[in-house]
């Protein structure tokens, strides 16, 4: 049986859960669905989560990923958590700017600055 490459990495640091995307390109519907499943599973494990999404490996994504981020943010905020995005390269950031999602999401240069000011989760 072929080994399944995980689509996210998960780390815990201080008050934050840090999820990194492992794929350079996040395009196909099946991959986005798999990501949703993985990330929601992490969210559901905590009563209230401070989640940082690390885009350091991501070089290309489609608007379907933006939809995924909105669904993730809604679930987190329903559970009184916080969501921050970081390490977004300029080409990807441009997509966020064009769609005005820079107004919706808190975006930081790196994990360290994204971690600042996160309140203690329950």
């Amino acid at each position: 049986m072929a080994a399944i490459k995980p689509n996210i990495s998960v780390e815990y640091a201080g008050n934050a859960t840090i999820i990194g995307f492992t794929d350079e390109k996040i395009l196909e519907e099946k991959d986005i669905n798999a990501l949703q499943k993985s990330i929601m599973s992490v969210i559901e494990q905590a009563e209230r989560i401070n989640l940082i999404l690390d885009f350091g490996n991501v070089r290309f994504l489609s608007s379907a990923v933006l939809g995924l981020l909105i669904r993730i943010s809604k679930r987190i905020y329903e559970r009184n958590g916080q969501l921050k995005l970081c390490n977004i390269n300029p080409k990807i950031y441009e997509i966020f700017k064009i769609t005005r999602l820079t107004k919706t999401f808190d975006i930081y240069n790196d994990i360290e600055t994204a971690s600042e000011g996160l309140s203690q989760p329950n």
């Binding site: 519907e29 489609s62 939809g67 669904r71």
Partner: protein
Amino acid sequence: MASEAPINCSIVVDSKSSAIVEVCKEILPKLEEHKFDKDDIFAVHLTLEEAFLNAVKHGNKMDPTKKVKIDYSVTLEKVEITITDEGAGFDPESVDDPRFGDGLYEPGGRGLLLMNSYMDIVKYSEHGNAVHMVRYKEKPHLTNDQSQTHV
């Protein structure tokens, strides 16, 4: 050997989202051969993904028995792509702007915005089931009428 001669081609693929991989594998290398830069290739790649998915999801209503046709031409000056689905067509003016109001919090509805942002010309056929897009290497001065209109 890679050629810089103008290219005019047509591909017909199954109406399924994964078929875009084959389309991109055919078109994007030709942009490189014609000396388009990384920004152009990124822009065209993203536009192809968005427009193709729209054709599959909204045009062909996820019907895997239908087809999507991609006509493209690449020269040293520009790339032109027309994507045609077998659907009933739609009016792009009917799509709400996802940058404002409730649309900002909706998971979908951003594909057209990205297509219009990354391509210099985006035009829909009168029937609404074909979109014609152009990206120039050297940006021309286009009026609103020229850049985003119905054919």
